[in-house]
């Protein structure tokens, strides 16, 4: 199905934040202590230069130990309560890669909304249930490698994660002959999956975030209680649906009544909708009680607004 969506130029502030995030999250000199911190971005901590610990890998480690990850729940929960999934939209390096690949001029596709549920299944099965079921539980807490080997690597990180394959697996395979000679069917499967994911995100915007990212699934649980929310002014909104057209994750929905949701849990708070809204003050982003960004009337009619009006 061809996508009838509008593509917008990258938001300079967001692109800057993403690039700063890419460098900061992969700055080796932070990593000695930084890897005690779990930020909600998909940045594999198996990569030597990774500065923080991946929450998914960390949750998996706790599941293998059959321990409740209070520390990770607290950290992700505080971030989610504060800014929802904004880390997905503004800091995640794999999100940056997807945004960049989508800008390639190819035919674009629209993913059915049903794929959004797949990431919850992956989170439940490959991050929580399977590692808990096969984990060593009660093993020596410092015997991390023993725990992982006993579990057979049946988890999201070992079987699926394309971010890990790209940032840690591939460099490791290139640099070390012992890793190349030790490649198993799982290694080839992950490489193939990486190729499929990268190919898909060229065609469908943020396809991995929508369909496969268990971290996105985790943070989506906080989207409704987050203090960072969109707000529509019904008196000013002309229901042109431009905000819906530019949304990269098809999360935006124009509320019919007061109190109705402004976006689904897929919203990464990229604020492209606020930027593109042609009516001043009709759509804004609010953090707690404060307006962070509000739509402004364009100085000149924008091509995207004219196309939407003509539809």
């Amino acid at each position: 199905m061809r996508a009838e969506r509008a593509q917008v130029a990258p938001h300079r502030a967001r692109l800057s934040a993403q690039l700063i995030g890419l460098v900061a999250l992969n700055s080796y000199f932070w990593s000695p202590a930084g890897k005690a911190v779990c930020l909600p971005v998909l940045n594999c901590h198996a990569c030597t230069v990774s500065a923080t610990a991946c929450p998914i890998g960390s949750i998996t480690a706790f599941a293998l130990m059959r321990r409740v990850p209070f520390y990770i729940i607290g950290m992700l929960g505080i971030v989610g309560l504060s800014v929802g999934r904004a880390f997905c939209g503004w800091l995640c390096p794999f999100g940056l890669l997807q945004d960049a690949l989508y800008r390639l001029r190819t035919r674009k596709l629209r993913l059915p909304r049903a794929v959004n549920w797949l990431k919850y299944a992956l989170l439940s099965a490959l991050v929580i249930a399977l590692p808990t079921a096969v984990g060593a539980g009660g093993a020596d807490r410092t015997s991390i490698r023993v725990v992982d080997e006993s579990a057979g690597g049946l988890d999201f990180c070992a079987l699926v994660c394309p971010a890990g394959t790209l940032s840690a697996g591939l460099p490791g395979l290139i640099a070390r002959e012992d890793l190349r000679s030790g490649m198993t069917w799982k290694s080839w499967m992950k490489l193939a999956l990486l190729a499929v994911v990268l190919g898909t995100v060229v065609l469908a915007r943020r396809a991995f975030c929508r369909a496969l990212c268990p971290l996105g699934a985790t943070m989506a649980l906080t989207s409704r209680v987050s203090l960072f929310q969109l707000q529509t002014d019904p008196a000013k909104c002309t229901r042109c649906h431009l905000c819906v057209a530019v949304c990269p994750t098809e999360a935006r929905q124009i509320p019919n009544t007061q109190g109705q949701l402004e976006a689904t849990a897929e919203c990464t708070m990229c604020l492209d909708c606020v930027r593109q809204c042609p009516e001043a003050g009709a759509l804004s982003a609010r953090l707690a009680a404060r307006t962070i960004m509000s739509s402004r009337a364009p100085a000149q009619p924008r091509p995207l607004a004219e196309e939407a009006a003509a539809r």
Binding site: S31, A33, K35, A36, C38, H45, A46, C47, T48, S50, T52, A53, C54, G57, S58, A61, F62, R67, P69, F70, Y71, I72, I73, G74, M75, G77, I78, L81, R141, T142, I144, R145, A168, P171, G172, A175, R176, L179, V225, L227
Partner: protein
């Protein structure tokens, strides 16, 4: 001024901070650090 609107975020925030501190107390932060560093190829 505290209103009902802020009650849930405040309570939830307090609960999450409690989780975080409890996790630190139980040594979870150290475990996360050790696990992340153990997975490095170098």
């Amino acid at each position: 001024m505290l209103t009902r609107r802020w009650l849930i975020p405040i309570l939830l925030g307090a609960l999450l901070v409690g989780c975080l501190l409890y996790g630190v107390y139980m040594g979870d932060a150290l475990y996360v650090l050790k696990n992340a560093r153990a997975y490095c190829y170098t």
